[in-house]
């Protein structure tokens, strides 16, 4: 693009002057500007913004880009495309996360154990072999209609 090199992201800032220049470049306060730790992962001097999704931004404020809830020139989160309103939502839930997780795992393990036990020890009413009418379907199975079919009785009196 035609932006000058000092307006584009660069390497990790080492001196306080570089930090101040980077904060000014990204339109942030020097106290707010916090780059990613210098672990060699390729972040450079990009600011580390709080990991909050766009669901948490004020829906009633007049954003410059209302669908992205983003103002012109506002620094974008590194994972901006993950935190859009169609995707990950980090807004606070009425029930805390660890309680939801605990209830879900209790339910899931209980159901899985019960299903597993049902497979190992099945339980159903007694059954016998299926009984067919018309002398065990003699004609349907291709028996000769002129011959007398063998009489089949399934009961004992």
């Amino acid at each position: 693009s035609e932006m000058s090199k000092d307006l584009l992201p660069g390497p990790y800032p080492r001196t306080p002057e570089e930090r101040a220049a980077a904060a000014k470049k990204y339109n942030m306060r020097v106290e707010d500007y916090q780059p990613y730790p210098d672990d060699g992962f390729g972040y450079g001097d990009y600011p580390m913004l709080p990991n909050k999704s766009l669901h948490e931004r004020d829906p009633w404020y007049q954003w410059d880009q209302p669908d992205m809830r983003h103002n012109w020139g506002q620094p974008m989160h590194w994972d901006f495309d993950m935190y859009i309103r169609n995707r990950v939502d980090t807004s606070p839930t009425p029930v805390p996360w660890h309680i939801m997780r605990k209830h879900f795992l209790i339910f899931l393990t209980t159901m899985l154990i019960m299903f597993g036990l049902g497979e190992i020890y099945p339980s159903y009413r007694p059954v016998g072999p299926k009984q067919y009418p018309f002398n065990d379907l003699y004609l349907e199975k291709g028996g000769d209609p002129n011959k007398k079919p063998p009489v089949v009785t399934h009961y004992e009196i």
């Binding site: 012109w72 506002q74 620094p75 974008m76 805390p96």
Partner: protein, 135 residues
């Protein structure tokens, strides 16, 4: 051992990377100190300056064809072209690179080799039933 003070509502909530703390439980919401107000005022000044620049371009009688957003350009540049110059091989990055790049190749090579060896052994012993045999 005496139990410590009972956990605050914010601590009982235990926010993590999937949910953030509600504003009602966050003590920062109720912080009305002058430092916070000055910080908010500075942020508002930056925001107002940016809004003014944007509105001037937007309501220009001869508007430019595209009003490009420098934040978006910087974001795209940082994620694509600024990664290689700022990458540095460290123990952590080397380990992760080995695990995620070389690991799967070696793993699947071993799996396929073992599977083929097992099938070859069955064929040599004559115990292998051809699945799609035309005979």
């Amino acid at each position: 051992m005496a139990a410590g003070p009972p956990p605050t509502a914010a601590q009982a909530y235990r926010p993590n990377r999937f949910v953030s703390l509600p504003a009602e439980l966050d003590p920062e919401t109720y912080d009305l100190s002058p430092e916070k107000r000055r910080a908010e005022a500075e942020r508002l000044a930056i925001r107002a300056r940016l809004k003014r620049q944007y509105q001037l371009q937007l309501n220009n009688p001869n508007p430019p064809a595209i009003i490009e957003d420098p934040a978006l350009i910087r974001w795209a540049y940082a994620r694509s072209q600024n990664v290689y110059p700022t990458f540095r091989p460290t123990p952590k990055t080397s380990f992760l690179g080995a695990v995620f790049a070389i690991g799967p190749i070696l793993f699947w090579a071993a799996v396929f080799k073992a599977d083929r060896d097992r099938k070859e052994k069955l064929i040599q012993e004559g115990k292998y039933k051809r699945p799609f045999s035309v005979f």
